[in-house]
Amino acid sequence: MDTASQVPLLSMQGIDKSFGGVPALTGASLEVAPAEVMALIGQNGAGKSTMIKILNGAVASDGGAITFAGAPWTANSPQAAQRGGISTIFQEINLIAFRSVTENIYLGREIKSRFGFLDWRAMHEGARGLLARFDVFVDVREPLMNFSTAIRQMVAIARAVSFEARLVIMDEPTSSLDEAEVQILFQTIRQLKAQGVAVVFVSHKLDELYAVCDRVTIMRDGRTVAVANMADMGKLQLVAAMLGRDLAEIRKAGSTAFGEGGQAIGGELLATSGLAVGRRVQSADIAVRSGEIVGLAGLLGSGRSETARAVFGAEPHRAGEVRFAGRKADFASPREAIAAGLGFCTEDRKIDGIVPEMSVRENMTLALLPALARSGIVDEARQAEIVKRFITEIGIKCSSPEQKIRELSGGNQQKVLLARWLCMDPKLLILDEPTRGIDVGAKAEIQRLIRSFAERGLGVLMISSELEEIVEGADRVFVLREGRTVEEFDKDQISESALMNAMAHGGDADATSPKGAAFV
C-alpha cells in the first residue's frame, strides 16, 4: 500500500463528451487506487453511465486523458476493455440464461483439446475453481436460469475475474437483489479487494455505499463535484452534494417527500378477499379507500406484484374475490380494469412500461387513445393539449413532446408513465416500486406527486421494497408474507420495526402483535 496508494490504478481527467450537441460530461474526472472500492454516485443524468461507457469502450470521449495501470487507456469496445483488465457488470446481467454456468464463464475463449474439441472437463473444473474463490458452490453444468439473481451475478463477477480484471465496474448491482443476496455480493466485493482488484460501485442506495465503499466520487450535471473518504461524509452531505442544494433545506424536508396526508379519506374503493394467484399468492386480503395511499409490503417473492397484477386483470386468479367501487370486479383483462377506472405502473419500466421507440406524447396517451378518438381517428389537437398540460403539471423534462421516451432519464420516464394513468383520471392507481432506480431528486418529486393526487381523491396502492417509502408515504399498510396477508397497520401503528417483524414472522403462531412489535 506504500507506493500503490500514491499511483492511481485508473485516472480519468478532464473528460468531455456530448451527444448530438448536448454535453453529457464537461471536464469530469475519476481516480481509483489499486484494491480500492470507489462509489460513483449522482442523480440520473449526472454522467455516471457515460463515464462507465467511455471506460469500457462502448463510446469514445470527445476529450480528456485516461490512464490505466500506468499506460494510456485506449479500449474501443467492451471486449477490448475486458482484455485490457476492466470488466463491467451491468444492471441487467448480460449472460445467457439457457446455457450452463461453465459456458457463460468461458464464452468466447473456450478451452479446446488437442483435436479442436471443447475440453468440458477442464472448463467445468476451471469454473468451479473460479466460483470457489467467492464461496459459491453450485453445479456448473446447470443452465444459469436455474439459479437466483445473486448467483447469476456471482457468475458474472467470476467471469470478469477470469479475464484477470484489475478493475470491475458494477452498475447498480443490487437493484434486483434481496437483502441476503446483497450481503453475499458485499462479501464478494471484499474478496475482490483482498485479491487486489479495484471496484467502481454505482448505486442509488446510500446505506450500501457505507457498507462496502472506501471512497466516493460524486457527479452532478456532467462534472465531478466531490471526492471524499466514505467515512468523512455523512448521508445528508452526500445527498446535498448530489443535488447541489443547501444542507439545511434537505434536513427540513425529510428524506422522502410524501409529507403529511390522510386528511380526506373517502369510502372503500377496492377490496380483495382470499385472492389466490398462481403459485405465489395464497390468500391476499387488501383494501384501498379513495384518497388513501395504501402500502403493500413484503419480502421479495411474497406475492405483492402478483396480487397487484391479478387485481388489474393482467393475471387470472384461482380463487377469491375482487370488489371495486362496491361491485364484484373480476377483471378478465387490463382493458376492463382500465375502463372501470384503474391504472397500473409496473415494476420494470423497460419490460412492460415504456414503448421505447415512441415519443413522450404517444407513450403518455397510449391508454387514453380510444377516448381521444372520434370514429377511430385521433384528435391530435386535444392530444397535444393534454400532453402539454401534464408535461408542465408533473414537471417532465424533455426537449419536446416528440422526443423518444428512451432518451429520457429513468425519473422522467416514470413521470410519463404516471401521466399515462393520471390523464385518464382514474379512481385507483396501482404503483409497483414507483421510485426504483430513480435518482433522489426525481424520487422526491414523484412522491410529492402521488400525495397530491391522493389528496384530490385518488386511491393509491403502492408496492415498495423501501421501508422508508412505505413508512412515510402510506396511510395504511398491508403486509404479505408467502402469499398471505399477515398484518394490517393503520397510520399510527406504522413503523419500520413493526413492518420488518411482520414481513419476517407475520402469521406465525408465536408472532408478536402489531402493537407489541411497534415497541421492538
Binding site: 387490463p334 409496473t346 414503448v355 421507440e357 397510449l366 391508454a367 387513445l369 378518438a373 385521433v378
Partner: protein
C-alpha cells in the same frame, strides 16, 4: 454516431433511389419515356400492394410468409367465378364483381386464420404463416388441378391493363392502398396501437390495447392485400397459374420493407419507406436487365441491398 451515418440512415433509401434514376438517365437508352415509367410502376404495384400489408404485419413485430400463397388462392379462384365454372352467374358484370370481391374475402379469411393461430395459440408468426405458405398454394393447385386457366375477359383485365388519366389502373390501386395505409398508421388509434404492440407488447397490453384483436386485423389486412395483388397478376397475364402466382413475392415484400427503413423487430414502420424500397428493388432489376445483365445477377444485387439496409438500421444501436 456520426452525422453522416445519421443522414444516411434517414435519407439513404431516397438517396439510393435518386442515384439509380440519375444513373439510368445517363446510361440506359430510352429511360426517360412514359413507357419505361409505366413498365416500372406496373411491376412495382404488385410487390407494393403486398408490401403494405407486410409493413403493417412487421410493424407489430410479426411476419407473413403466406402472402404469395394467398395471392395464388385469390388468383386461382377468381377466373373460376367470373367464367361461371364454380356456380352459374347471371351476367358477366355480376361475375366480375363476385370474381373480385369473393377471392379477396377468401384471402382475408385465410389471413384471419394466420392471426388466429398467432394470437390464440401464441405461435411465432414465422411458423404460423409457414402453414399457409406451404398449404395455401396446395389448396390453389387442388382447386385448379394444377392446370393453367387461360381467359380472355377484357372487362376484368381492366384492373391491370386499363388506364385512367394515362396511368395504369393497377398503379392507381397501389396509390390508394398506400395512401390509405399511411393515413391509418399515422392518424388512427388502430395505427398507433399497431406500433405500440411492435414496440412493447407487454406494455401495450397493460395499457389496455386489445393486442389479440389488433394483431388479427393486421394479418387480415395482409391477406386482403395479397388477394388484390393476386387479381392484378392474373389480369396482367390473362391467365391464372396456381403454381406461379406470387411465387417468392414474400421475399420481395420483406426486402422492400427492410430497405425502406421499417424496423424488422417492430415498433417503427413507414409505408412510404416501403414504397421507396420497392421502387429501388424494381429499378435495380430494371437497370441491370436494360444494360444486359442477367436476372440471376440481379438477385445477388438485391441481396446486397438488403444487407446494406440492415446495416443502416443497426447504426441506431450506438
Amino acid at each position: 454516431m456520426s452525422d453522416i451515418s445519421v443522414f444516411l440512415k434517414r435519407w439513404g433509401a431516397v438517396l439510393a433511389l435518386v442515384l439509380l434514376i440519375l444513373f439510368n438517365l445517363a446510361f440506359t437508352p430510352h429511360f426517360a419515356t412514359t413507357q419505361t415509367l409505366a413498365i416500372n410502376l406496373t411491376q412495382v404495384a404488385v410487390v407494393m400492394v403486398v408490401g403494405v400489408g407486410m409493413t403493417l404485419v412487421i410493424a407489430t413485430g410479426g411476419i407473413d410468409l403466406s402472402v404469395g400463397s394467398l395471392m395464388a388462392i385469390a388468383g386461382a379462384l377468381s377466373p373460376m367465378i367470373f367464367t361461371g365454372q364454380l356456380f352459374p352467374v347471371p351476367n358477366l358484370y355480376v361475375g366480375i364483381a363476385l370474381g373480385i370481391v369473393l377471392p379477396v374475402m377468401v384471402a382475408g379469411m385465410f389471413g384471419y386464420f394466420n392471426g388466429w393461430l398467432i394470437t390464440r395459440f401464441s405461435i411465432q408468426p414465422i411458423i404460423a404463416t409457414l402453414v399457409l405458405f406451404i398449404a395455401g398454394r396446395g389448396i390453389a393447385q387442388v382447386w385448379t388441378n394444377g392446370d393453367l386457366q387461360v381467359f380472355k375477359v377484357p372487362e376484368f383485365q381492366q384492373i391491370a391493363i386499363g388506364r385512367l388519366l394515362g396511368v395504369p389502373f393497377q398503379v392507381w390501386i397501389m396509390a390508394v392502398i398506400v395512401i390509405a395505409a399511411t393515413w391509418t398508421l399515422r392518424k388512427t388509434v388502430f395505427g398507433r396501437q399497431v406500433l405500440a404492440i411492435g414496440g412493447n407488447e407487454a406494455a401495450a397490453r397493460l395499457a389496455g390495447v386489445p393486442v389479440a384483436r389488433v394483431k388479427t386485423i393486421v394479418y387480415v389486412v395482409s391477406g386482403v392485400c395479397s388477394g388484390i395483388a393476386g387479381l392484378i397478376v392474373i389480369a396482367m397475364n390473362s391467365a391464372a397459374d396456381a403454381n406461379l402466382i406470387g411465387l417468392g413475392i414474400e421475399l420481395d415484400a420483406i426486402a422492400a420493407v427492410a430497405v425502406g427503413g421499417t424496423l424488422l423487430t417492430g415498433g417503427r414502420a413507414t409505408i412510404l419507406g416501403t414504397l421507396i424500397g420497392a421502387l429501388i428493388i424494381q429499378l435495380v432489376r430494371y437497370t441491370l436487365l436494360a444494360n444486359g445483365v442477367p436476372d440471376s445477377a440481379a438477385l445477388i444485387v438485391k441481396a446486397g441491398l438488403i444487407i446494406l439496409a440492415v446495416w443502416l438500421q443497426r447504426q441506431d444501436r450506438a
